[in-house]
């Protein structure tokens, strides 16, 4: 870290440093774009992944906190803070020319904070309607319903966009643009569509059966979790995590708990840690089984879908016995887990591990080995490793592009360093590779479960925590490997019992970001295949 600090102060002497759980660099807005370019390109820094973009409102100023990861330098993470005092017309230079993932991330920040990004190609709102008044995550947001009455008319398709372009003299002017041209044949997929896996909407411009461009329209089930969290105490915000990516409920909640525990300096009992990891892996298997079933169903093989659900049912039964719920388990709590394991847990998990290998063989026989399935999945939705890194596509989808990005290996947490498992990589860069990574990860997760199931230590299931949980002043960032990629939680606290700002960095948000890239040039049927193989869960995008 000190080397990084040295190099940075050489590049930008005006940068100031704050030591926290990660090194935070504060830079002026006018230096930001050049500094970002240096961070990405300077030897010894090479921060090639933009992990998170967190919009902030510090009352006296608005700004953004960027989290950057360097894949070549041992996955070091630094954060950069950029603030602008102008609340009326805040502007920050866009970095989406350096990290493509910033495209959607910056649109989200614009939507919620009204910060305009200079040189961003498509500065539209991301979640809210275009005619919405105000920017809801600002601290001075007026939630008066009179300002935004319930609309009685259908929303128009907004094909107009704007870009704030800076010329050589530093003058910024708005340049209008078009998302789709007048004569393009735009097919609307969603929000009510059988294969968008939720209320997602794509607008695809097609030429015959070939997709030319995909525009993502999101926000149909946005619940404003981040805004809600600001008004609640820490234990109260836990349950939101189960409702984001409901197929990674345990991992997401694990992440938030770890972030709070890190801030509190709390030691979690070993029994709780082992239970948490086992639950995470069961959740991962359940998620990948659902993904298998849905991929098969989206390709028209409805029978395989039921086969996947048959095994998933066993995991849900295990969850139901211990957590009391099959869907939103609400199992992890700050300091441990809420309830002890059900007496049948060990027996059930062993039974599951016993039957799973033969069932996987059956899946390969029924679906993956089928010629039609192979033809539909192979060479469809190409995503190169460079693009995967640039768009921060983590999880099975990133590993299907041969990018080693498993958070369990790169930033080991909980008891993961003690268990043996392999990070599954496939080099096909297509939908088939992504699909195969998931199938092989089921085997690896079973391996982890096998190692832990007989080694669950006795002891407390949760640590002693104070009745009122207050975090010290500061900010923390924690990542875990959720079922669909790296899930991150950012908490900023002012020492109160509720957080000043919580940001959830969801992997699915990045996944929809590559829909346009991966679908262009393929056919309408492939759009569904690619969506299924990327496997995004909509509530995770619309937090």
């Amino acid at each position: 870290m000190s080397e990084i600090k040295e190099i940075i102060s050489r590049i930008l002497p005006s940068a100031t440093f704050t030591e926290g759980d990660t090194l935070m660099v504060t830079v002026d807005e006018k230096d930001w774009h050049g500094f970002a370019k240096a961070l990405k390109e300077t030897k010894g820094l090479e921060f090639d992944v933009l992990s998170a973009v967190v919009g902030m409102d510090w009352k006296d100023s608005l700004g953004v906190v960027y989290y950057l990861t360097s894949t070549s330098r041992n996955w070091d993470v630094i954060s950069v803070k950029v603030a602008v005092p102008d609340r009326e017309n805040p502007m920050i230079h866009s970095v989406c020319d350096l990290w493509k993932v910033a495209n959607f991330q910056e649109r989200e920040v614009y939507d919620f904070y009204g910060i305009k990004f200079i040189n961003h190609p498509d500065m539209r709102r991301f979640f809210l309607r275009n005619d919405w008044n105000g920017h809801p995550l600002r601290k001075d947001y007026d939630a008066d319903p009179k300002l935004n009455p319930i609309p009685t008319e259908d929303e128009k398709n907004e094909d107009d966009t704007v870009s704030y372009v800076e010329d050589e003299n530093g003058n910024v002017k708005a340049v209008p643009g078009k998302v789709f041209e007048e004569d393009e044949y735009v097919v609307n997929v969603g929000p009510q569509h059988p294969s968008t896996h939720g209320v997602m909407r794509f607008r695809a411009s097609v030429d015959g059966e070939t997709v030319k461009k995909v525009d993502v329209v999101s926000g149909y089930i946005h619940r404003g979790i981040e805004k809600l969290s600001e008004g609640l105490t820490y234990p109260q915000i836990l349950h939101f995590t189960d409702r984001m990516d409901y197929m990674s409920a345990h991992q997401n909640r694990h992440c938030l708990c770890m972030c709070i525990e890190k801030a509190m300096g709390l030691e979690v009992p070993r029994r709780a840690q082992v239970i948490r990891v086992m639950m995470d892996e069961l959740m991962r298997i359940s998620s990948h089984l659902l993904s298998f079933g849905c991929t098969a169903m989206d390709l028209g093989a409805t029978t395989a879908f039921f086969y996947g659900f048959r095994e998933r049912e066993m995991i849900l039964d295990i969850f139901e016995k211990t957590c009391g719920a099959r869907m939103s388990m609400n199992y992890n709590v700050i300091g441990g887990v809420i309830a002890d394991l059900h007496p049948d847990f060990v027996k059930d998990v062993k039974e599951f591990i016993r039957i799973m290998p033969s069932r996987l063989k059956e899946y390969h026989k029924v679906f993956s080995g089928n010629l039609i399935a192979k033809n539909r999945l192979k060479k469809v939705g190409h995503l190169s490793k460079e693009d995967a890194i640039n768009y921060a596509i983590t999880g099975p989808s990133g590993r299907g592009s041969n990018w080693s990005c498993d958070c369990r290996k790169k930033h080991p947490y909980s008891v993961y360093p003690e268990v043996e498992f392999e990070e599954v990589l496939e080099s096909g860069c297509d939908s088939y590779s992504r699909y195969m990574v998931r199938m092989k990860e089921i085997e690896q997760s079973c391996r982890i479960l096998e190692q832990l199931v007989d080694r669950i230590p006795e002891g407390d299931i949760r640590a002693q925590v104070p009745k009122v949980i207050k975090l010290p002043v500061g900010c923390w960032y924690q990542q875990v490997e959720a079922s669909r990629g790296t899930f991150g939680v950012y908490i900023e606290s002012t020492g109160e019992k509720n957080p000043y700002r919580v940001h959830f960095q969801s992997p699915c948000f990045n996944l929809v970001g590559v829909m346009d890239l991966t679908c262009s040039g393929y056919m309408i049927a492939d759009l569904i295949t690619i969506g299924a193989a990327l496997d995004f869960v909509i509530p995770d995008i619309d937090r």
């Binding site: 294969s195 093989a301 029978t303 039921f306 039609i372 569904i528």
Partner: protein, 358 residues
């Protein structure tokens, strides 16, 4: 073998006894129309349940179980529901074509059904180009689908209709060639004669290699012709919600739905007619005792049994295979299936010319 023709001609004579000829024909036509429509409905209902039960068993489920014993009455409930549903009329559609389309589809399938040989002497019309007529009528159904897709003023339906047009017109070629292969072998297009030509043994055995190849081609092409999985692209519900009939409701939707199931029966019926002897019982040359026993099973049972078996295979396809993509499907037809059918036709001609058959 019982000849149903005795009953029908006696009934004819009975009517002729007290009615002029034109009235006799009129009465007979009405009765036949009612019978055909009744058969159509009952068969469609049976097929819906048949497929639902089969697919449930493939998928480790039970299928409909609540209405009636083993869910037997479920389809009646569903059909009744469809009948009482509102026919929604949409803005900016081509009203006339929109309403015409389902009738075109269902008419073509009813006409095809009427041409099938149901049993010994149980046939509506004995036509010297019977099988040719069936093929010709089946093409009218495509028109209905294209119209439905076009008139709905919806992008999904239009894409579905375009796919359907491309698919059905392409696969009709292989389907026709497979049938022509058998016509070359049998030397007739008359349905009655086709069946009687299989008295000694069914065509699939008599024509051996080329007939078996033709049968396989026919099954693949017929699956595509009926828009069933893995060729269900026109209504690929995961891409186009419901394809060409997305905008239809009530009984207009029901027409598409019934026609789809009946087309499944019709292509199975043609398969059993052309390859598996139609209503002709299983006869093995030389085994006279066995053949006599087989003759005791009514011819209608033979025909339905064979058709249900072929349908079972086609249903099995649907619930096993993923859906193919439009370009894959078309290249499969034009690059592999059609050349193969043509080669098979030549092969059959050679076999017939040299007498290499039974």
């Amino acid at each position: 073998m019982f000849n149903f023709g005795i009953w029908t001609s006696e009934f004819n004579n009975f009517l002729m006894g007290f009615l002029p000829e034109w009235a006799t024909v009129l009465v007979e036509c009405v009765i036949i129309a009612v019978l055909v429509l009744l058969t159509y409905t009952v068969l469609a209902l049976f097929y819906i349940l048949y497929e639902r039960k089969l697919c449930a068993w493939f998928q480790c489920r039970l299928g409909p179980m609540r209405v009636g014993k083993w869910g037997l009455l479920q389809v009646f409930a569903d059909m009744f529901k469809i009948l009482i549903k509102e026919l929604i009329s949409l803005k900016d559609t081509d009203r006339l074509l929109f309403k015409l389309a389902p009738y075109l589809v269902i008419t073509s399938s009813v006409v095809m059904l009427a041409c099938l040989p149901w049993g010994n002497g149980l046939q509506v019309i004995n036509y010297n180009i019977g099988i040719f007529f069936i093929l010709a009528v089946s093409s009218v159904g495509v028109l209905g689908i294209l119209l439905a897709g076009w008139a709905s003023n919806n992008k999904y339906t239009l894409i579905g209709a375009m796919r359907s047009g491309a698919q059905m017109i392409s696969y009709e070629i292989s389907l026709g060639l497979a049938i022509i292969t058998i016509i070359v072998f049998a030397g007739t297009m008359n349905i009655n004669e086709l069946v009687w030509a299989q008295d000694k043994a069914w065509f699939i055995f008599r024509g051996h290699i080329p007939a078996i190849i033709a049968f396989l081609i026919y099954i693949v092409a017929a699956t595509a012709e009926t828009n069933r999985g893995p060729f269900d692209l026109p209504e690929a519900e995961h891409e186009l919600t419901a394809g060409y009939h997305t905008e239809y409701s009530g009984i207009h939707f029901g027409f598409f739905y019934l026609a789809e199931y009946l087309n499944l029966f019709i292509v199975s019926g043609i398969a059993s007619l052309m390859f598996l002897g139609g209503w002709m019982p299983l006869h093995i040359p030389g085994w006279d005792g066995f053949n006599n026993v087989m003759n005791y099973i009514p011819s209608v049972v033979w025909f339905l049994g064979k058709s249900f078996f072929v349908s079972y295979v086609i249903i099995w396809f649907k619930w096993t295979f993923p859906r193919v993509r439009i370009d894959q499907m078309l290249s499969f037809e034009w690059k592999y299936l059609m050349p193969l059918s043509l080669a098979n036709l030549v092969l059959m001609a050679v076999f017939v010319a040299l007498g290499w058959h039974f």
